[in-house]
Subunit: 248 residues, 6 copies
Amino acid sequence: MRLQLASWPEVQEYLTDSTGIMMPIGSTEQHGPTGLIGTDAITAEEISWRAGELVNALVGPTISVGMAHHHLEFPGTMTLRPTTLVALIRDYIESLASHGFRRFLFVNGHGGNLATVGAAFYEIYQEFRQAHGADAPALRCRVLNWWDGSKVRALSDDLFGSRLGNHATPSEVSVAAFAYPGYVKHAELDPPVAPTGRFYDARDYRRRFPDGRIGSDPSMATPAHGERLLVAAAADLAEAYRQFMNED
Amino acid sequence: MRLQLASWPEVQEYLTDSTGIMMPIGSTEQHGPTGLIGTDAITAEEISWRAGELVNALVGPTISVGMAHHHLEFPGTMTLRPTTLVALIRDYIESLASHGFRRFLFVNGHGGNLATVGAAFYEIYQEFRQAHGADAPALRCRVLNWWDGSKVRALSDDLFGSRLGNHATPSEVSVAAFAYPGYVKHAELDPPVAPTGRFYDARDYRRRFPDGRIGSDPSMATPAHGERLLVAAAADLAEAYRQFMNED
Amino acid sequence: MRLQLASWPEVQEYLTDSTGIMMPIGSTEQHGPTGLIGTDAITAEEISWRAGELVNALVGPTISVGMAHHHLEFPGTMTLRPTTLVALIRDYIESLASHGFRRFLFVNGHGGNLATVGAAFYEIYQEFRQAHGADAPALRCRVLNWWDGSKVRALSDDLFGSRLGNHATPSEVSVAAFAYPGYVKHAELDPPVAPTGRFYDARDYRRRFPDGRIGSDPSMATPAHGERLLVAAAADLAEAYRQFMNED
Amino acid sequence: MRLQLASWPEVQEYLTDSTGIMMPIGSTEQHGPTGLIGTDAITAEEISWRAGELVNALVGPTISVGMAHHHLEFPGTMTLRPTTLVALIRDYIESLASHGFRRFLFVNGHGGNLATVGAAFYEIYQEFRQAHGADAPALRCRVLNWWDGSKVRALSDDLFGSRLGNHATPSEVSVAAFAYPGYVKHAELDPPVAPTGRFYDARDYRRRFPDGRIGSDPSMATPAHGERLLVAAAADLAEAYRQFMNED
Amino acid sequence: MRLQLASWPEVQEYLTDSTGIMMPIGSTEQHGPTGLIGTDAITAEEISWRAGELVNALVGPTISVGMAHHHLEFPGTMTLRPTTLVALIRDYIESLASHGFRRFLFVNGHGGNLATVGAAFYEIYQEFRQAHGADAPALRCRVLNWWDGSKVRALSDDLFGSRLGNHATPSEVSVAAFAYPGYVKHAELDPPVAPTGRFYDARDYRRRFPDGRIGSDPSMATPAHGERLLVAAAADLAEAYRQFMNED
Amino acid sequence: MRLQLASWPEVQEYLTDSTGIMMPIGSTEQHGPTGLIGTDAITAEEISWRAGELVNALVGPTISVGMAHHHLEFPGTMTLRPTTLVALIRDYIESLASHGFRRFLFVNGHGGNLATVGAAFYEIYQEFRQAHGADAPALRCRVLNWWDGSKVRALSDDLFGSRLGNHATPSEVSVAAFAYPGYVKHAELDPPVAPTGRFYDARDYRRRFPDGRIGSDPSMATPAHGERLLVAAAADLAEAYRQFMNED
């Protein structure tokens, strides 16, 4: 169930059974000539919603804008500063913890978010410890990339092999295409498989990856692949959530 | 066009014609026994998307969590601290201004956001002035409540009269019901029209408004009303956007 | 009684009877060719002091610098950033709440402050809730513009009609002139009634309102008018304070 | 001239001659059984206003609330957090520097402010350097305690000798009494001369100095002494300001 | 050369040849019954100093306290909040960049630092971009764990095999023992190899890992092993630094 | 005992006897043509370590980078912003206080740190008071300059007389030379004794003191003097620590 589509009595009822919640987090950033700017938010939330149904988990509102500084040389990219995202995640968890939520599984659609989300968890633990000492609630926060589960990884390797790449991948573009089939874009990709490598700031990124892709060939993306990937990723996530909730 | 559903070359193209963008901002908070927790975000984004099509305006990602401290005694409510929302809006505008966007129309779904959004605009103007002096880009930021347009206000008065109220109104509940007809909830409302009055912090709010509503009778809400309200509000918003873009 | 003119045993005594306090907040900003830069602080504090005597309320130290970014193109204007004002108000209330004060009526002399003061109240409620949970003191914070009371509004309409305007009004200039009769300035006002309209940042403001006034004719201001307005506003404020203290 | 009592064209005119300004900073804190809570703000502003006239210097709005955490066990005391005061002073100087002010002489009424004011100057220099590099304006900020000038120190020694003490001194109480003769308080002081010594936090302070005084006998204070002290301190300050403005 | 042991003319000379610098970052946290609390800072700095000599690189001052919230249930552990560490790293780089340094290789002694250091780099890139736009210097920041190089990893596997573990490892304990042979501690370790597993906040950590170790057997540590590990890690680091400096 | 060289059981044992700790704080800043950039950190830590042995006090990790904005025109200087140092000191004390430490003696190697360290203490007291009210632990924080003790001051006067000066003094250069005899530098100093005077920002500092020294003749520095000064300063500090721990 999506939190946004519940009423408060329904949430009250849910909390009598479970203190867990999934929190999708994406990004609003360029995804190459054909990928949607919202790809990372769309994939994270679609997979979370599907997995949420499999395990009867509540799914919180999607964090749509994440850490995308390095894409800012491409129009449409938006980013938070890390300190803003830390504050936002702290506020989200503070709110939900006040109702009794205790286990927070962040479902991540953008690798660039990982560092800052991890920093946010430290900030939260420390704030609760300082504010409440021995009485602080025992919060548990984790973050998972949706593409890291075993099922979706196997399928993605199978479908795209070495043309998967690292950014604007046919995998994520497929999932977004399945979610929004009316918005599939076409463009000639030159070279067909984008270059790879390390990068630093936004100008450095654009210099190295002129059309925005890293190592990928998103021309392989299709809505049909997207559906299969979504199903696989949701199954992986459902399993991870169950383990997370059952952990000692 | 939704920014999330565009590619970066499409945004680049858009910017050759316009520097304007609509930014939906809502809240994640209780809306009485039957209203969706995401009502304010859903209404703001649905109306913005519709209006965006009427005037060919880009619509940014929805800010789903706003200023809802006073609803925190009801499970499921989430809030940012004002300083977090100020930072978030600053980061959003900073990102978009770096691409050339100059006119930002925030479409608001929650009255409680107004003060902090207004404060954020001041913070942004001052930061740009301090950082860039005479070279600062001439940003223009405005915020509008979607229910304040003349067409939607007339319709709302006509449909609900004095049973509209101030929170969990049949108007907003109708728009959300139209958007998500599968999630319409039913509950006995007692009293049928909720009490009204001023309130202070979250405990004070719950004491005065035990089921969360203020002055409203959301049992009057229907998806059909919602569609009409959505059309009216989008027309109002489209007109306001045109004026905003044409202002000297 | 002004807090600044009390001793600590007097405050201790006061707290045995009342937990209320008035907090004047103004601004330090241009007020047209003839208005004092301190007009908004002076009016807020003079009216608070007078009203404080009528209802035996303590009056805190005036916040002299507020939200005046949009006036910065005029020499002498000072502004806080919104986040600074939020922190300042939080610190003021935190200090006073530690002594037992619970009801804070901010008496505002500058419309531009309203948004940020409102944001500050949210921040405070949330900080106290997070720090103290169910044990948080039940704070009540309100803000009133001194010119919004019924008596002073009627008098102002009567004296100035449509030439009152929105900034550097003959009403506020009169009150300041009554308070500081030795500092009344004279200048030719061209046009006699200033233009009106919406504005955005500081440069936009100066472009639209070249001498700083909005819609007003402050040549109508006199110390005698100021005294009558001060008396009316103080009576309105005294009544509002009584209601605030008696609220359930 | 007090900035608050000037119009913007007057400030514009002033800036053609001078880039200097005096900034009074005080505190709102207990001053023993008889001293005014606003003593430090009152003394700083009265002396600044007098000195301002001697040297034709503009005097900014008084910072009334400073660093008074250690007095918080006494009702009526208010304090900012150091980080708030740093932000406030940064905003003040940022505003004034944008008009062309360059030399800022803070006139201090409370020893406890010195550390944080000094920290604020560092923050400002660093922010301007980071924002503007080689183009940063050459700001000069200093802070002086009004009781440290040679004339006022000699007079104070002469009048009060070893009964001057460190807090709630007859010197500062006299200056405030001269400024507000209607608010002179009387109370038996026991012991007549308060104890002295180091202290740490607020509870420690109250334990060591039960009536709030440190080392002082404020029963020696009179308005007449206050006038002489005010004149002496203003002369010292005028001389310091001249030197500050003439420094290479 | 250590920056701390250079004079400013020596740094000026260095900058004519290179814009690179190594920055050791560690932690101050429990390392089991026998490990030094400063292990992570000591290892990072000793390896950096050695590597700095191999490649004539300047080595900045060690960041001794890092992200160690999860160890706070063990006496002596210290931690920064993530937002503090982000600010600290920003200030360090801001300072050094003002002199002309451009490539910053952080040599990390504590895995828990990685997320926050990564977040800090994003914050820095974004701040420079916002402050300086197209004129921002092209900064490059990387972070490496000293134990991740191929030579040191091979040696560590060879020496300790599966008893290496994750915290209070015989590898890090050996390096610290080589650096401070007078401070080698002895204690019975029970069980000899500590348990492993995931953890959340500080209380959860102590519950799972009662003596502080994770998966390790530090009884295998010796100063002699430490010397070999130090030499290997420094060689790895020297190579990584050379590549970093030669990157396009 | 240095905290960094202790194990957590050793700290646990220490806390059964004492709640005191010494905290060295220095700076990373130019010290004239011959002084080490790390002089202030080196002197503070060497003296603290020696004194710690005299009184069996634990010595925390050195804060190596302090408030050195005014030296930034000299290559190699690093500085924190005051707000960063306040946060860092708060985090240090928060961590240590959670283990039971109560008395914190900061041993300072750089006069420029004093203001901000003092501000930090206020921030800490206020945060603990706000978070914990009457249950806040009774923290005591003090800061001492190592050169202010009577023994070291007498010796320094005796050795260097009026050529001691204020920055890059032969006293601090001697102590650092004793600690790191392999890094003694030589350069012609012109003039032999540097000029003195007040300064404002970094550019102003460099203009007035072109080689970085203020009023000093560091050519008088020797390692042998350094040893004597170190011994004297450590004896002074040991005595100050004893008094601090025995204070009522």
